[in-house]
Symmetry: C2
Subunit: 426 residues, 2 copies
């Protein structure tokens, strides 16, 4: 029976039952962390052989003879640019291979724009009175954190089923020259797991920003992170931007953080040659080069691009059952009650749950009090404020399956309790 159709007495009874279940759970003294989209130890184990491909007897030379142990090559090994450029759908000349963190790469890219400006712009972004970014939400909290940290105002744009609300994006971007950027996770989005439709990608490429130095920050973090036999597909944004005559409008990002090691992977960016050359010139003041040994390690481990795609299937084998466990719990415990909605994503790292309005914080707080830490409610919105207080990001990958099952039992209990409280207080 749908919770909203219960009368007060039924609701009170429902709540009492749920509280008993909740208290019983609390007594178990759980201590689980589902707050971040971290790969599990089992997933990390998949890449342990990568530690063997470079050893004291192997050659530290790249194909062109570059000694990867020494200084140099600010934009990465040529073969790494080719390999990881392919992952982002760009040519080697349109690629920079960075350090171990795409967040670092994105942060640095915004900082460079703040201090130096970007091609097409008249001055560094920091020289404007105030600048703004669009934040399709729910979205990735660390994207928003970069802007908040740098004093860039965030404007929330709703996420629809096929991407951000493009009517709103087009209207805002074309009318306000202080809007300098937009954050996108275009494939298996964080947290909803949706992939932008071809039409949305084309509308992005055909934006007519008032700011001549506007940039799309295209964080393709989950580009090969499929969970189904018929994965989503994403149109190549740089190709589309070129067709639209605006090759400089997009910066594309990716990494192997959820392919090999989350903390010791390789980050990469793709962009037009003009953008890349502009960044390389500034970067050469920042570093003599990122860790080429780790680039070489990755290349030797995978050998071919196809092998990396095969490797991703092993990740899927580990995490698909976890996603299913979350979905099963929601389908069984929550769906009949009509107190939340969620998507079944074809890839990525999250399941995004929308509770009844005004319940998300309460659910997260109840879970926390019983020993399960979720991503903070509101984290998926700018400034940590979810206007409807309803979005909760579930990150199924890190805990072992049996812990996840327990955590989801608790999550459903908390969701029921918060929903009953909400309906009783209406």
């Amino acid at each position: 029976m749908q919770l909203s159709k219960m009368n007060k007495a039924e609701l009170e009874k429902f709540k009492e039952d749920v509280i008993r279940e909740y208290e019983a759970f609390k007594a178990r003294g759980l201590k689980l962390d589902m707050s971040r989209g971290k790969p599990s130890a089992e997933q990390l184990d998949l890449s342990m052989p990568m530690l063997d491909v470079l050893n004291s007897t192997s050659s530290p030379l790249a194909k062109d003879g570059t000694d990867c142990r020494n200084y140099g090559l600010v934009d990465g090994l040529p073969e790494a640019k080719e390999f990881f450029g392919k992952m982002l759908g760009v040519s080697p000349k349109e690629t920079i291979v960075y350090g171990n963190s795409s967040l670092n790469l994105m942060y640095d890219t915004v900082v460079r724009a703040m201090l130096y400006g970007v091609p097409g712009g008249e001055k560094p972004w920091s020289k404007e009175e105030k600048i703004k970014f669009l934040a399709p939400s729910p979205g990735y909290d660390r994207h928003f954190g970069i802007c908040e940290s740098l004093g860039i105002e965030l404007i929330t744009v709703p996420m629809l089923d096929d991407g951000p609300d493009m009517d709103m994006v087009e209207k805002l971007v074309s009318s306000d020259s202080l809007i300098k950027g937009i954050w996108c996770v275009p494939m298996y989005s964080n947290p909803e797991g949706i992939t932008y439709s071809d039409e949305v990608v084309k509308r992005f490429a055909n934006l007519s920003p008032a700011a001549k130095d506007f940039r799309i920050f295209w964080d393709n973090a989950y580009c090969i992170h499929h969970l189904k036999d018929t994965p989503d597909t994403l149109l190549n944004i740089l190709d589309e931007c070129k067709k639209a005559g605006k090759p400089n409008m997009v910066y594309i990002f990716g990494s192997t953080s959820k392919i090999t090691f989350a903390g010791a992977g390789v980050a990469v960016m793709g962009a037009s040659e003009e953008n890349i050359n502009h960044i390389k010139k500034i970067m050469s003041m920042q570093t003599i080069g990122h860790d080429k040994m780790n680039q070489l390690r990755h290349l030797k481990f995978f050998g071919t691009y196809e092998n990396m795609l095969e490797h991703m299937k092993k990740h899927r084998q580990i995490i698909e059952p976890k996603f299913n466990k979350v979905l099963e719990a929601l389908d069984k415990e929550i769906a009949p009650l009509g107190i939340a909605s969620w998507k079944n994503p074809n890839g990525g790292y999250f399941i995004s749950v929308d509770t009844l309005d005004g319940c998300a914080k309460r659910v997260v707080s109840l879970c926390k009090d019983a020993g399960v830490v979720l991503t903070g409610a509101g984290a998926t919105f700018p400034y940590g404020i979810d206007p409807r207080d309803r979005n909760i990001r579930i990150a199924p990958t890190y805990p072992p399956l049996e812990e996840l099952e327990l955590a989801m039992q608790l999550f459903c209990i908390c969701l029921k309790l918060a929903s009953a409280e909400k309906l009783l207080n209406q």
Copy 2:
């Protein structure tokens, strides 16, 4: 016979002889690069066993159980902070372990100050009309490059035998609140190889800057890079700053770039806890963490701090003969002519040669035309302009000994030729 004591005919004869030698050298078609202070392949080979200590069968866990493969620990592994903090003479709480490049760390530290300010300051440095750094010169070109790139004005301060001209430093720093920093390589300085005296370090710690957010950028790049049995010693700047009641005034930097792998080492910074906490907070917006696997690899390779010091003796065995080769050539070919001066450093990576005024560019250009690339003349001064055009930085470490011998023969010939030209044109 000193060149300056020759009459015109003698000088002409000298010059003709040297030109013949030069042309003969040119005909050999050399192709050597002595432009950068890079370790040689033989030095890099010393650390190849570091690639074996982490393999598919070894534990990826830090002492506290942290999985180094996963996200986290923005300031580095606890044991890495302890180990590398010791190298800089600071406690673990006063340490941040970074990525693979101390240049990157220094650049980012300046950028953070530009965009966020530092403790003690009223606003971000970029909000000032204009800011300035002191540049003891000759110095490290990439330090100056950071400032030039960010639009920070550089003021040249002469280097004396025991460090920068402290009378001038004190006067400038105390009188101009737009002077926000100074670049120092306090031990085996780049390029002269001198170590700051205790008095100089104490005068640094007791500076009374007009700018409340003034910082000493103390790049202790060569802190354990000794070349003699009786190495230089350097007073601990953070201790001295604490004694002077100004613990926040210094940022200390270092790395293993010239200990393990130049391109795949570990960078580290030391500073007061207040400085460190301020930076950590901002850094947590930039990255979830640097490469902890590489930190663990370094720690397992060395085991103890003492082992790292032993490891440095192996570097010395390789590079000391190269330094000697350079000094022998200068002593034999140049000293009797009185056309240049240089120091015999107790450590570090360079030998700094001062030619007659107005000859450095010509020497570098002559060498280049004959196939030997040196660091550009002027590179050791702000904006690449050596006011007396006399300083040339020789980097002996990279070429094999026999190539270095050849290169030094050529260098001496070019120095003789340029000096003769100069004296004939007076």
